[in-house]
Amino acid sequence: MARTMQTTEVAEAPHYRPGAAPAGYTVTRLIAESTAIFGRNLKKIVRIPMMLFFSLFQPMLWLLLFTQIFKKLGQFPQFQTLGYSSYLMFFVPSVLTMTTLTSAFQSGMGMVADLEQGMLDKFLISPIHRSSVLIGKVMADASRMVMQGALILVVAVLMGARIKTGIVGAVVMLVLAACFGIVWAGLSNIVALRTKNSEMTMMIGILLTFPLLFLSTAMMPAALLPSWLGTVGKLNPVTYVINTARQFMNFGYAWAELGKALGIIAVVGLFTLTGATRAFRKATS
């Protein structure tokens, strides 16, 4: 009885802001909170352009070097019969995917920074839905990946690459790569929340990502890979993402393949994002 009265008293105290506490939790509120956190994360990205470019350094290097190293390969008849006009045209989707995967490491590192700098406590102490922290983060990560991916495509075009499906194809490629990047960022966040160590998050991220790239069709068409590698590649989600992007880049619209790739991403995401949510809950309780 006394307790109920107390609650009312607090609710009517002069300092109390009704706006801070609607009775029922609404979707509008979730959007507002997620947007606030998204805005904060986006500011961090834009404000330190070094970070944006730092993770682009390696993909750019690959784009410039690998297309030179394998330039002659693009002129081999076995390669030509597959329909690629040059190694560059073959390789751009790989670099794009690699870019978003590299960018995904940063997601976990950002999570560690938020933990270390006490920002996570500030989020958790406020009456926001826990999901808004993750939604705001995913949205910002996706924006960063699209920005970075777009830069890669611009450089590729400057190097002479052309996207067969034009702007639509470019958008599809960026969105596809970003979707996969987000799913991968989930993994990075799991490591981040479990280790709470930024170096460890980076190291494990690299260890998980590079084999994945090499055990796919990123460097070489499946037809030219040793058969065991081709088999392994078929089990590798990266293969589907890159192959789909390659279709849009080199041959034309491939909606069925796109659907399949997105489906595979969704399945992987089910594991990584659920895992990340669970790790988040564990780390914050």
Binding site: Q6, G19, A20, E33, I37, R40, D121, I125, S126
Partner: protein
Amino acid sequence: MSELIEVEQLTKVYPDGTRAVDDISFVVKGGEVFGFLGPNGAGKTTTIRVLVTLLAKTSGRALVAGHDVDREPEEIRKLIGYAGQFIGIDIDLTGRENLILQGRLHGMSAADAGRRSELLLEMFGLTDAGNKRAGAYSGGMRRRLDLVQALVHEPPLLFLDEPTTGLDPQTRNALWRHLEELRAGGTTIFLTTQYMEEADRLCDRLAIIDHGKIVVSGEPAELKAGVGGDVVTVALPEGTDVALVERAKRAVAGFPGAGEPTTFDHSVAVPVKDAGRSLSEIVRRLDEEGVPIAQLSFTTPTLDEVFLKYTGERMRVEETGHAQSSMFASMRSSGRRT
């Protein structure tokens, strides 16, 4: 007023077996400033983190505004502001952006949060730094910004974990004044501190906590009275002979509330229950005996002595670094009020 915080037999045992908080019970009433006074590692932060819903308790019961910390943490979060012992600011955002973000997370509109931030930046001397990246702030400025974050949304219940640790004296005073204003406006404040002076000045009631247990709690005056009352000291003129000092000693003994007097040099010290009320009696008695008085003074015990009495040790200050020990030194020198 009714209880805003109710804690019953609260215990927190960390996975490594550390019993950080051990079966403590207390209440905080609406509108009061309640303090947890204790050294590092006493369990202050653990208690506060349980109450602000950042840490799960092991056992016991904890209600904030009638809401159970385990069952209705969301309800509690709507009512509280919290500044932890560790600074939580985004170093890539400006001071102003940090404050606005906090306001928005607490459901304020961007415009409201902006106006409120402006006011707080001004109040805590951060206006000039408001548009600078928080990463470029000095340690003291970061500390201030972190504190101010807890105030943006004007919470009716404020949790401050060692709010003045690492603050310069000027800011400390500004914060104290602001907290007093907030209390006057009806805000309930739960704070932890290592400083007797702070607890004495701000707290309506306090609990001394050590090794995870509350050793004593009550109003500061009550606690100080518990370590023995005041001491009145009468200094006779220089060169007064011993016989006269002895006569003075006999004169001031044996009235209600007085303890056994002691002498040193040409002074007589008598412990009394209430110095203010005993002074006239002492003066009258000395007058009757014809004892001349050169100086009359009295002292009241400090919380430092309360702490010493109940924990058997001085406040541990050596672990807390330079800023605090120097603050402590200045406190000691003015420790006994005359």
